[in-house]
């Protein structure tokens, strides 16, 4: 009996002293509800964790990969990880993974919906559908009315990837309001480098 109590005491002291890696002080994880699922996002607690996958590669060929400027447009805000988490918790809008499907299928940030950037580039039925889902309304003359458009947050692979900037620039030319678009420049690379939770999306049937 004594032994049992001692074990409980030891275990609880160990747990109390274990240093939990926080996202920010006092917040060790964030719970997100999106697309009908609940996600728990936290930082890695494994002290031997290193970034070793393809996101540790330093040099992607140019073209098509270049280092992207910090700011795409003076009214399109660049976001960091904390701002992304805020966006998701406060449900401020639609979180979009702008990469091509093969990238998204390998791993993605929880709660993101995959809209490959190339769908924004040319006029198509698919693009119209997407724009409507984002809150744009088709005018009689064929132009778009974005007054009810949702705020969207886009990301791609990281500072060396131009997929989300290309999507944002394309949307700007269509007329999507700049202040309703946010750019998470760090992308998958920064997200993984910080040891934040990622998911492998289930295959679409």
């Amino acid at each position: 009996m004594k032994f049992f109590y001692i074990t409980i005491f030891l275990v609880s002291t160990i747990l109390a002293n274990a240093k939990v890696v926080d996202i920010v002080e006092g917040m060790s994880y964030v719970k997100i509800k999106a697309n009908g699922k609940t996600y728990k996002i936290k930082r890695t607690q494994d002290k031997d964790a290193y970034l070793t996958n393809t996101f540790a590669l330093t040099s992607r060929p140019s073209p098509p990969f270049f280092i992207e400027p910090f700011s795409i447009h003076n009214e399109v805000e660049t976001y960091g990880e904390l701002e992304v988490l805020d966006f998701l918790v406060e449900k401020e809008g639609v979180f979009i993974d702008a990469r091509l499907e093969n990238w998204y299928a390998k791993s993605a940030i929880p709660a993101a919906v995959n809209i490959p950037f190339k769908l924004f580039l040319t006029k198509s039925k698919k693009r119209d559908k997407i724009l409507k889902k984002l809150g744009a309304i088709r005018n009689e003359e064929g132009t778009w009315n974005f007054t009810e458009a949702k705020t969207i947050l886009l990301y791609c692979n990281g500072a060396w990837c131009g997929q989300s900037p290309t999507a944002i620039k394309a949307l700007l030319t269509i007329g999507y309001p700049a202040n309703k678009m946010k750019y998470y420049r760090g992308g998958m690379q920064a997200w993984q480098l910080l040891g934040l939770t990622t998911i492998v999306p289930k295959e679409k049937k």
Partner: protein, 204 residues
């Protein structure tokens, strides 16, 4: 004659980095900066199979919170492209300086070319801070106020997205009166610099 001219253009192209496999921007493959009097070519690793390893590839960072994208409403956060521009235009003609806030040992082991070292602990030493302000071009007037009309532009960096040394030091400088528009925060820090394959220097 025609062939000669073409060859000349090709060599100029190679020299200008036009045919580099891994560039920085479509127009830029490298810049030259001065580090302790020596000209250094800052460019990216060309090996597309190269991965970052070592200290800066670690994912486990206990006690080190992720930093917000903007550390103060008036202070601009910059990325690599803006930093290189700053190093080339302002750094090389001495109107700007890049400051590494990591400990002296870490800075000497490996740092961004053209950066100078102010260990973050210096923010608590008022005497040294005063001297640093002077080096950056600030003048302490007789009435005690600080004349910052001719100060240099300063870009600060530390370890990376999870390091608070730079934000804390910049805040100290702001409290001292250094103008916000003359300070830049390279949030990516040494970690992003390394993971993008940029040249680093070791101070012997």
């Amino acid at each position: 004659m025609k062939k000669l001219i073409l060859l000349l253009i090709l060599t100029m192209g190679v020299g200008a980095g036009q045919f580099d496999k891994v560039k920085i921007t479509p127009e830029l493959s490298y810049i030259y900066v001065y580090h302790k009097g020596k000209a250094i070519k800052v460019h990216r690793i060309q090996d597309t199979k190269h991965k970052l390893t070592g200290e800066y590839a670690k994912q486990y960072r206990p006690g080190q919170d992720i930093q917000p994208i903007k550390m103060h409403k008036d202070i601009q956060t910059i990325g690599e492209v803006e930093l290189l521009h700053f190093m080339k235009i302002k750094g090389n003609n001495k109107t700007g300086v890049l400051v590494d806030l990591r400990p002296r040992k870490a800075h000497n082991r490996e740092s961004i070319p053209s950066s100078v070292n102010i260990p973050a602990s210096t923010k608590d030493d008022k005497v040294k801070l005063e001297k640093i302000l002077k080096v950056f071009g600030a003048k302490r007037l007789d009435d005690g106020s600080l004349d910052t009309s001719k100060v240099m532009q300063v870009a600060f960096y530390c370890n990376g997205l999870w390091c608070d040394k730079a934000p804390k030091f910049i805040k100290t400088f702001l409290e001292l009166g250094y103008p916000a528009e003359k300070m830049l925060y390279y949030r990516g820090g040494f970690q992003m610099w390394k993971i993008l394959g940029f040249t680093t220097v070791t101070n012997l």
